[in-house]
Structures are given as structure tokens and as C-alpha cells.
Amino acid sequence: MSAPLYGLLLAGGRSTRMGRDKAALRVAGRTQLEHAMALLAPRVERAFVSVRADQRAEPLRAAFEQIEDTRENLGPIAGIIAAQERFPESAWLVLACDLPLLDAATLEHLLRARAPERLATAFRSSHDGLPEPLCAVYEPGSRAALAAYVAGGRNCPRKFLLQADVHLIDEPNPRALDNANTPEEYAAAMSTMGAAPAAGTRRVTVQYFALLREQAGRGTESLVTAARTPFELYAELGRRYPFTLDPAVLRVAINSEFGDWSAPLREGDAVVFIPPVAGG
């Protein structure tokens, strides 16, 4: 039996590099805090916003149940520790509020992969291969280890995950956890999002099997592409991954049915490139 899952949205940061409260920045028509909470709340039994004492009455944060930090100047790890102190029997899905590209599929992937017998389940960053501590599940068993880690004078949650018994998984969408700490990063994320459905691009998922899975280094991903057909999509992916298979030897499937290389790709399509088969 795994522990009940509660959600913790980290919104207690000082946003010093952004120069303004990151939780209040707008993404997809609402604040980042509301955007993240809308992703988090439906997937957990109870969802809380992590706050510092002086943020309790701030209107954006006051709209939600809160957990107040019990220690100062520890950064995000203080929020996790406060949540674990208050509900030690729960596992915590911890999310930073400054992940404007985070999508439901990424969270679902994390929850499906959750390994309750380990201390935590987290994504391996698509950028540097290190664990992503602020979109992760912390099991009740991690409480003592985190407390000991902080007691030892350390407070970096990423380094904590590096040395702990953690289940690491690949991100299905390599940009989902891009965070935005500066106005420039925020603008870049916004342009990525804004470009998505409008200017002739679409979001598709690609599943990889056999040799293609090994060459892509992943089993699945979600991406925004300007490719209009599976043929163009395979060409685009072939510039990112060391694919050796010529499209002439592959077949393509769209939404779990054999498809045509020149069929128009639509928003939400699930595409599979089928290497030469060898059943039987």
C-alpha cells in the first residue's frame, strides 16, 4: 500500500532574479500559481500552497490551503520539510510554481512511474541529467533523511536527491520542466507556448520502440512540431537523434492504427515509427 498523496505547491520563493512575484506572472490566461494548482489539485487528495509567514495574507496565496515554513532561509527544502512535519504519513507531490510549460501528461507520467518503496520519484533533467527536485513525489520515508540532510547544514534539494534512494525517470516532454527565473526565461517560455497551436504547429506524442527507442534514448515524448506529416516529423527527429533507419524501411502508425507517411498530422496525434518487425 502506498501512502496517501498530498500536493504541495512551492510559492514561497523571493523571486529576486525575476524582480517580481513569480507566482503572480500570467500563463495561459491566469497566474502561474493558479496554473500550477489547476494541474496539481485534481491529482492529489489535498493540495496546499507552501508559504513564508509574511506571505500568508497575500490574496493570491490566501485563496488556497497553506502550509507555512517552519524554518527560515533554507529555500524550497523548508517547504517540503514543513509539509512532512504537518502530515508525516502522507506522500507529497511537490511542484514549483514557476514551471510555465508543465503539462498534465508529465505529471501523469510521474504518478504512473511512482515507486512508493523508494524515498522519492523524480525526473532526470533533459538538460543536465540531474534529478529535478521540484516536480517530484516524496514518500513518507524520505522525511527522516531530509531532516538529517538539513541538520547537516545542507539545503540543496537536488543534491539531496542525488545521494538518496530515488527512482529517476525520463521526462516525456523534454521542455516541460524548463523553469523561468528571469524575465528573459519567462519571455522565452511564453513564446514557446504562444507559438504552439497558432503558427502552423501542433503538439504530438511520439512513442519509440526497439532500435529507435535506444537511439532516441527514451520511450516516449511529447513535442510541438511544425512537421505537417509523419515523414516530415521523422526527418525532424532524425536531426535530434542518431537514427540509422531509413524511412523506406519503416512503417508509421497514428493513434494506434497503421497510417500514411503523407497523412496530415493533427493536434494531439500519437505517432509511432515502426522499425522492421521480427515477431514469431
Binding site: A210, G238, L245, A253, F258, V272, G279, G280
Partner: protein
């Protein structure tokens, strides 16, 4: 989707555990049938002169199941057999293990043999299932993929998806 069990509700199954041939065969029994033909595909210890230690099968499951069910329906319609079923393993297999089983029952032997042959031939060609062989030397390879991977180097018309 498991083909094991005493009844064959689904004509095809991808299975992670050893295939229960007795149960699958029993489900094809029919007083109207005087003939039963089956094919078993086993893991062989060599491939193109190389010593195979063990192998793994991987499947794109939703499409593999759908395509296999189509193949079986085609065989029933084309040869007029009464019942047909197939099970295919996925995961790690050792030499000698049963990798694929096909069974057909029919009023007479001829259509049973032909339908059985049709099903295994089409399964091998059409199902999105891949086989990785692990060789005695410690290396491994995806069957049918490693050689065609070299092909684009030999001709220039690789197409836009070829490679960087």
C-alpha cells in the same frame, strides 16, 4: 490481454509468462472439427551463424493485438476453419522456450494446415513486434534492423529522413 486460461475469449494474446498450450488447445475443441493443426515457434540457439544466448521481444501492444486479430479473422474467412487462436510472448526468453503458438481447428485437416500456415506467416510479417538477440560474445542486435540500418550509406536516395 492474456491468451492463457481455459477459454479463448480473445483469439490473440501477448503474454509475459510461459504460454499455456494445453489451455489454448482445449479451447479450440469442437465436435464439428475432425482436424487440429498447431505451430510452435521456439527460441533457437543460433542466428546467421551466431550463437544466441537469450533474446527479448518487445511489442507495440495495442496495434499488435489489433493486427493479429485481423489476421486470424482473415484466416477463418479465407479457409473456412472453425476456430483459430495465437499467443506471442514478450519480454526475456531463453533458448528452447516457446515464443509463439498458433492453433486451428477445422472439419478437415487441409484447411487447418493452410490456415495455420497463413497465420504464422502473416504474424511474422505484419505484427509490430521486435526481437533483440543477445549473442555469446556479449553483444546484441535487433533482428532485421541492424542490416537495413547500413543500407542508406550504400545508396544516395535515402530521403529527407535519412540522417544528418
Amino acid at each position: 490481454m492474456s491468451a492463457a486460461g481455459s477459454t479463448v475469449s480473445a483469439p490473440f494474446g501477448l503474454v509475459r509468462e510461459p504460454i499455456d498450450v494445453a489451455a489454448l488447445r482445449a479451447a479450440l475443441a469442437d465436435p464439428a472439427c475432425g482436424g487440429y493443426a498447431a505451430f510452435e515457434g521456439w527460441v533457437r540457439d543460433s542466428h546467421e551463424g551466431r550463437r544466441v544466448r537469450h533474446l527479448e521481444y518487445e511489442a507495440y501492444e495495442p496495434l499488435a493485438v489489433r493486427e493479429a486479430e485481423r489476421i486470424i479473422a482473415e484466416a477463418v474467412a479465407r479457409f473456412g476453419v472453425r476456430h483459430a487462436a495465437c499467443a506471442h510472448r514478450v519480454g526475456d526468453l531463453r533458448v528452447g522456450e516457446l515464443a509463439v503458438w498458433v492453433g486451428v481447428s477445422a472439419p478437415h485437416r487441409d484447411e487447418a494446415f493452410r490456415a495455420c500456415r497463413y497465420i504464422i506467416d502473416e504474424i511474422k510479417q505484419r505484427l509490430p513486434i521486435w526481437k533483440k538477440e543477445h549473442y555469446a560474445g556479449g553483444d546484441s542486435g535487433w533482428v532485421n534492423c541492424e542490416r537495413c540500418a547500413a543500407a542508406p550509406h550504400e545508396h544516395e536516395h535515402g530521403g529527407p529522413g535519412a540522417h544528418a
